[in-house]
């Protein structure tokens, strides 16, 4: 939890940056319970980890035990079979593309909307965008697939575009709630100095949106990286599979070689888990910030 959150609800006399000492006693009962319950998360992950190092015959008899010897053979096999480097590249391109484009465009749309919400036409547009929150993907799945194929965007670029557009509704909601609190006087003084609307947006508004950009960026990255259905139906070229999609496609080829399949799963989740290990505090506060608005 960031110090800013604490500061916000402290009385004005306190130093806003100082975290108020928690005067409560340490709750050992809750600590123990949380530790025990975390096994429900850790055991399946532990199982996936040890399995990836075993041989097939070993797996059948050993269950949850540690592998007799740590062999990387499964990882090598999964690496070759799924062509891991190109899967990783595809997933990375799509995720980075979706995040960057989403931040640049969705914030801009939200800004232009929020500064004109007093107009009936813009208010109508605002609700037009928000209506997308209620459209379930399955209903448009078949027509969209035909459309992207007809337009020749049944590839990574098309998928990025779809993430950017389908995220609009939710992101507009997030950005506008934040923009409401940004006083227009801030922009007006810049305008008096001769700045254009574009300059005002990129130089003043966009930097101010940084906390919301973090939240939107995190949620978009998790969505694009982990998504299965959209890549499954949109990407038509078998050479351009994302990491989750590759697990599905190669499921049959792993056959009963479960250790290799588990090695493949681990490699697919490893990049995001690594990022998360280092950025978890930032990720969690980003998600929390989104919901507190």
């Amino acid at each position: 939890m960031s110090t800013a959150h604490v500061g916000r609800r402290l009385p004005a006399t306190h130093d806003g940056l100082k975290v108020r000492p928690d005067r409560r006693q340490i709750n050992w009962w809750a600590t123990g319970l949380i530790a025990v319950l975390s096994l429900t998360i850790l055991i399946p992950l532990y199982f996936a980890l040890v399995t990836a190092f075993k041989t097939s015959p070993e797996l059948a008899e050993s269950g949850f035990a540690l592998p007799q010897q740590f062999t990387l053979a499964n990882f090598r096999q999964a690496w070759d079979l799924t062509d891991f480097p190109s899967r990783l590249l595809t997933s990375s391109i799509i995720t980075v593309g979706a995040v960057v484009l989403t931040l640049l465009t969705n914030s801009m749309v939200a800004y232009a909307l929020s500064r004109n919400l007093h107009r009936k036409s813009f208010k109508a547009l605002y609700y037009y965008f928000l209506a997308a929150l209620f459209i379930p993907f399955p209903i448009i799945m078949l027509p969209v697939v035909k459309e992207t194929a007809a337009l020749g965007i049944d590839n990574e670029a098309g998928l990025i575009l779809i993430y950017v557009v389908y995220g609009l509704a939710f992101n507009i909601l997030m950005y506008t709630s934040f923009l409401k609190a940004v006083p227009e006087e801030l922009e007006e003084s810049a305008r008096i100095d001769g700045a254009s609307t574009w300059t005002v947006f990129w130089k003043i508004i966009f930097p101010l949106l940084a906390p919301m950009n973090a939240t939107v960026g995190i949620l978009t990255a998790l969505w694009a990286w982990n998504d299965f259905l959209l890549p499954l139906v949109i990407l038509s070229d078998p050479g351009t599979q994302t990491l989750p999609l590759a697990q599905y496609v190669f499921q049959g080829q792993f056959n009963t070689n479960y250790p290799a399949a588990f090695a493949s799963y681990l490699m697919a989740i490893a990049p995001m888990v690594l990022v998360y290990v280092f950025a978890q505090k930032w990720v969690i506060s980003g998600v929390m910030r989104g919901s507190q608005r």
């Binding site: 965008f129 969209v144 299965f228």
Partner: protein
């Protein structure tokens, strides 16, 4: 945040001006002058929005309308088609496969929503109390949310098929001694389990965000000081995070109704057709079964149900919030 937004709302252009003959304040006068400029829309603002409107319409609204159009035809996804009126919709209601998929999807969505929210609320309260290594635990409990549903489902699928039956045999529980996923009556439980395992992570963090908006002073000031934990929770904590409860229930339910990845990874709709969710059925029969028009009609019915339920939920939960 609440302070900032309330000052903003008084200076919003829509706020009533100069009522009750109390004259114009300086701020209101400034607003008057800014309303003069209302007629002109900043062209830059238009340039910012128009491309988005075009793309949004093209990739979302147009397919939606096109899909609805085709539901009145016998289009298979390729080749010739003709209008068939409401035939698709009438057939939907007489199709056992469709009824079964709605049955499964709602059974899944209701169980997953209830379980996810109960467990997440409990975990959030625990994680918000003063425990050792609080940030580390929070990081761990959010971890499932950063994993792809498909891969999580593959991992559990193995455990349900190979390890859980052994446990069942050891315990002597007959229902657990064979694979849950091969059991027509119980396969849905396995899918719920995986959905909840993953869904709890995000929901917990939202509840935690809600709990952190409650200052400790509220508990100290209340007459319930010294009351039991359960009483404090129901009388103070829960009413104060009702808004977060509303968001979570509506979101969990909407996401659960779209269940797809777990079904593909764990049962592929089986055994038989017992775990075909609506999204799965639209995907499978729409793409592979030549039922383009028919399954899109299924999608339209699903869409209408989703809208009605979302509004009903919001209305019901918001009415409770005001108490």
């Amino acid at each position: 945040m609440s302070i900032a937004s309330s000052t903003q709302s008084t200076s919003a252009p829509d706020a009533p001006r100069g009522e009750g003959g109390r004259g114009w304040t300086a701020e209101e006068l400034k607003q008057l002058s800014s309303t003069e400029g209302r007629k002109k829309i900043d062209p830059a603002h238009l340039w910012m929005i128009v491309p988005a409107v075009v793309l949004f319409t093209g990739l979302l609204i147009y397919p939606l309308l096109q899909g609805i159009f085709y539901t009145f035809t016998n289009y298979q996804g390729y080749g010739q088609w003709r209008f068939v009126g409401l035939t698709n919709y009438i057939n939907l209601f007489q199709d056992d496969i469709i009824w079964q998929s709605y049955g499964f999807t709602f059974l899944y969505a209701i169980s997953a929503t209830v379980l996810t929210n109960v467990i997440a609320l409990f975990l959030a309260v625990m994680l918000n109390s003063k425990i050792v290594g609080r940030n580390g635990w929070r990081g761990l409990y959010f971890l499932p949310n950063i994993l792809p549903v498909l891969i999580v489902a593959y991992i559990f699928s193995y455990l349900f098929t190979n390890n859980l039956p052994k446990l069942g045999q050891w315990l002597g529980w007959e229902w657990l001694s064979t694979s849950l996923l091969a059991n027509e009556q119980l396969a849905w439980l396995a899918i719920v389990f995986v959905g909840v395992w993953q869904g709890v992570a995000f929901t917990t963090i939202i509840y935690l965000a809600g709990l952190q908006t409650i200052p400790e002073e509220v508990y100290e000031a209340s007459s319930l000081d010294g009351a039991g934990t359960w009483k404090k929770f129901t009388q103070i904590t829960f009413p104060l995070i009702m808004g977060f409860f509303t968001i979570n229930v509506v979101l969990s339910f909407k996401n659960s109704l779209g269940v797809f990845d777990q079904v593909v990874a764990m049962t592929n709709g089986g055994p038989g057709t017992s775990t075909q969710s609506i999204a799965f059925l639209i995907f499978k029969n729409g793409f592979q079964g030549g039922e383009y028009a028919y399954q899109t009609a299924n999608g339209v019915v699903y869409f209408i149900i989703l809208i009605v339920l979302s509004f009903a939920q919001l209305k019901f939960l918001q009415s409770r919030e005001q108490i």
